[in-house]
């Protein structure tokens, strides 16, 4: 129950954050903010994967964490290369802050669990987290991005995240 609730909170944070709210052009996140949000979303999943590598017991869960680490590091490396090329400085913002805060709370919560309970909670959170990020990418970040290269990187990011969501759902189904 708690897991479902926190997924809803994550989605709410992503979708109702002041930086992402409203239909008027002035309220749209800027490219430097979008770059920061996307990078932060990657870092969060990398940190979650590092925790899972230390704590997970199930071999599929361990392998999944390794996949997350590898993919998100690759995406963020591309993101860094792009912002450098475009001469854009990622700009911290309320959405990034809310995401980071929520993620560190989650890390602390998962840290108290061990063995099968940890495995289950980590994978369930991965499903919920990727779902929330996908929804933010689709409905807010991609439509708001003005630079074509940034938009295309976000679109690749969306496909990666959608893939991870399905992968996480498979792992979750097998843990049951």
């Amino acid at each position: 129950m708690f897991i479902r609730w926190s997924a809803a909170v994550a989605a709410a944070i992503l979708l109702s954050s002041p930086a992402l709210q409203g239909a008027s052009a002035a309220d749209k996140p800027t490219d430097p903010q979008i770059a920061h949000i996307a990078y932060t979303a990657g870092v969060i999943d990398i940190n979650a994967a590092k925790q899972a590598q230390k704590k997970a017991k199930n071999k599929d869960v361990k392998a999944f964490a390794e996949d997350m680490l590898r993919d998100h590091e690759a995406v963020n490396k591309q993101a860094l290369a792009l912002v450098k090329k475009l001469n854009v400085t990622p700009e911290d913002n309320d959405t990034s802050k809310a995401l980071s805060k929520q993620a560190s709370d989650k890390l602390a919560e998962l840290d108290k669990l061990s063995d099968a309970a940890f495995d289950k909670a980590y994978v369930a959170n991965e499903v919920a987290y990727h779902k929330a990020v996908n929804s933010a990418l689709e409905t807010q970040l991609i439509p708001s991005a003005s630079n074509a290269e940034l938009k295309s990187l976000l679109q690749t990011g969306l496909k990666i995240f959608q893939g991870h969501q399905q992968h996480a759902e498979h792992v979750a189904a097998e843990l049951k």
Binding site: D71, T156, K159, I160, H164, Q166
Partner: protein, 106 residues
């Protein structure tokens, strides 16, 4: 025609049957931006598939029926020879939203 040219043609003809059996084809399947293309391709038993991963991410080509499972590191390619006839659906284990079909004729 110069003798050297003739010799190299003779050499090529002599070696051709060893390199590529007369009926076998080489089929390229590319993974780029998490898309497999072509999404559907026909092959014959004995054909060679060259799997090309253009992404910075690792992918796999994993047959649902267990007939093959090729792992492709970032920016790498691999080859495999088609062994069994049938329509095989395959996907990437890391990104199951990457899906495609291989139709293999006997």
């Amino acid at each position: 025609m110069k003798p050297g040219r003739l010799a190299s043609i003779a050499l090529a003809v002599a070696f051709l049957p060893m390199v590529v059996p007369a009926h076998a084809a080489i089929i390229e399947i590319t993974m780029e931006n998490l898309v497999i293309s072509p999404a559907e391709v026909s092959a014959k038993v004995g054909d060679t598939i060259i799997w090309i991963n253009k992404d910075v991410f690792a992918h796999t080509a994993t047959a649902k029926n267990g007939n093959f499972d090729v792992t492709l590191p970032p920016k790498k390619s691999a080859t495999s020879v088609v062994k069994k006839a049938g329509t095989v659906e395959y996907y990437c284990r890391y990104h199951p939203n990457m899906k495609a079909t291989l139709k293999i004729e006997p």
